[in-house]
């Protein structure tokens, strides 16, 4: 029910704000809910707010799982 997307932080601004990049589109969002987010991190963005960090190692692990052969 929640349209949210992974976007890369390209700039930290004051007042708990940041600029993120998704596929070349940039937008200013709030990082108040993920205060530890740094430039270069990927965050999940929903209604103009970062909700959590994306763990890139886990992302790669998930992709590897998709390629596994069936257990049948």
């Amino acid at each position: 029910m929640c349209l949210a997307l992974p976007a890369r932080i390209v700039e930290r601004l004051g007042d708990e704000q940041a600029v993120v990049d998704l596929g070349g589109v940039r937008k200013q969002i709030s990082v108040a809910l993920v205060p530890e987010a740094q430039v270069g991190d990927y965050v999940i963005v929903h209604v103009g707010h970062a909700l959590g960090l994306l763990d890139e190692a886990e992302a790669l692990a998930s992709l590897a799982l998709f390629a596994e052969l069936s257990r049948a």
Binding site: M1, C2, L3, L22, G23, G24, V25, R26, V45, H46
Partner: protein, 351 residues
């Protein structure tokens, strides 16, 4: 000795504004027409100073006419403005029947308070577009409405064109087995305009693709035997999905699209994802769909790609028999879905 004409201070294009006098039909209105419109559009027809234009129709040709109103806001957007859009839109409608557009008329509804500087910019842009297309604005009209009753300016254009009398290109001509071609990537105009909306501010380099397609059409038609091109249409409001559904209904056929083959610029895809919009439903102003006989598809595609406005042309699907007239699509992951009609305005979602 010729009578001295009453002196009129030239239009203050820098800081003047439209007021109700400009629409009253008197000297002030005449000055607006002379100094702004006629000067910009300048051609022998307008110079005659009549309220209509005399045009010639050669033997063996058929007249094609199209009309469009433009109410876009904002008036200026990345890649265009309401003026050039008004020219391209009507030129394209005429071209989509396979006719060569030749003449335009333009009527302007101006809102009281519109800065003349903005109007001048729009009219210059229109004039440049008309020159570029070879379609002079041969007749026109202006009216003024009170402040609050118009969104700056509304422009209505009508276009006339000519085509060989026997040509038959239209939405009812698609047949099972025909191939669907798209002249380039989708969604740019709509995203460019959306990026200007206050509450949806995002930074992108997407430009509206507003462009005249009549020469692309001519190049396509001249490369193929008459009759090989069944349908031409430009997917404007409502996007590619709406256009294809319209044609499917008109021709009483179904369609099967290949999502992976439909070109979408990465930034357009990203902007749409962010807003929860589907590029298939976003307006285009410089692209066309061509439905051609299967045996002519390869030649048609090459002809499109050889033209600057068609370099990214792609084969995106086929027409198939379907009494339900569904436009179906093989998705990027290999599934299947229907590409339905747009239900009302496409609004950004959070869900």
């Amino acid at each position: 000795m010729s009578p001295r004409l009453a002196y009129m201070k030239p239009l203050d294009l820098k800081s003047g504004r439209i007021d109700m006098n400009h629409g009253a039909g008197g000297r002030v209105g005449a000055q607006l027409v002379e100094e702004l419109f006629v000067r910009a559009f300048d051609n022998p027809y307008l110079r005659q100073g009549n309220d209509a234009a005399r045009l010639t129709v050669p033997q063996g040709m058929r007249l094609v006419m199209a009309t469009d109103a433009h109410v876009i806001s904002p008036l200026f957007f990345p890649g265009g403005d309401i003026g050039s859009l008004a020219v391209h839109g009507t030129v394209n409608d005429v071209a989509m029947l396979g006719a060569m557009p030749l003449y335009l008329s333009a009527s302007f509804i101006l809102e009281e308070g519109l800065p003349l500087a903005q109007l001048a910019r729009i009219v210059e842009s229109m004039a440049a577009a008309a020159r570029h297309c070879g379609t002079p604005v041969v007749t026109g009209d202006t009216k003024v409405v009170e402040r609050g009753k118009g969104d700056g300016v509304f422009i209505s254009t009508t276009g006339l064109g000519l085509m060989p009398a026997q040509r038959d290109i239209g939405g009812a001509n698609a047949r099972p087995g025909d191939v669907l071609l798209l002249s380039g990537s989708i969604g740019e105009h709509g995203v460019a305009v959306l990026s200007q909306r206050e509450s949806l501010q995002f930074d992108t380099e997407i430009l509206s693709d507003s462009a005249p397609l009549h020469l692309l059409v001519a190049a396509l038609l001249s490369a193929l035997p008459e009759g090989a091109v069944r349908v031409l249409r430009d997917p404007t409001r409502g996007g590619l999905a709406t256009t294809l559904n319209e044609i499917a209904r008109q021709s009483a056929v179904g369609m099967l699209l290949d999502e992976a083959a439909i070109p979408v610029q990465p930034q357009v895809a990203a902007a749409c994802e962010m807003l929860g919009l589907d590029p298939l439903y976003i307006a285009n102003e410089g692209k066309l769909v061509a439905i051609v006989a299967a045996e002519a598809a390869d030649t048609a595609l090459s002809a499109l790609r050889a033209h600057p406005l068609g370099v990214h042309a792609a084969r995106i699907g086929v027409v198939q028999a379907d009494p339900q007239r569904f436009v179906q699509m093989r998705t990027g992951v290999g599934g299947r879905r229907v590409v339905d009609w747009l239900s009302g305005e496409a609004l950004p979602r959070i869900c």
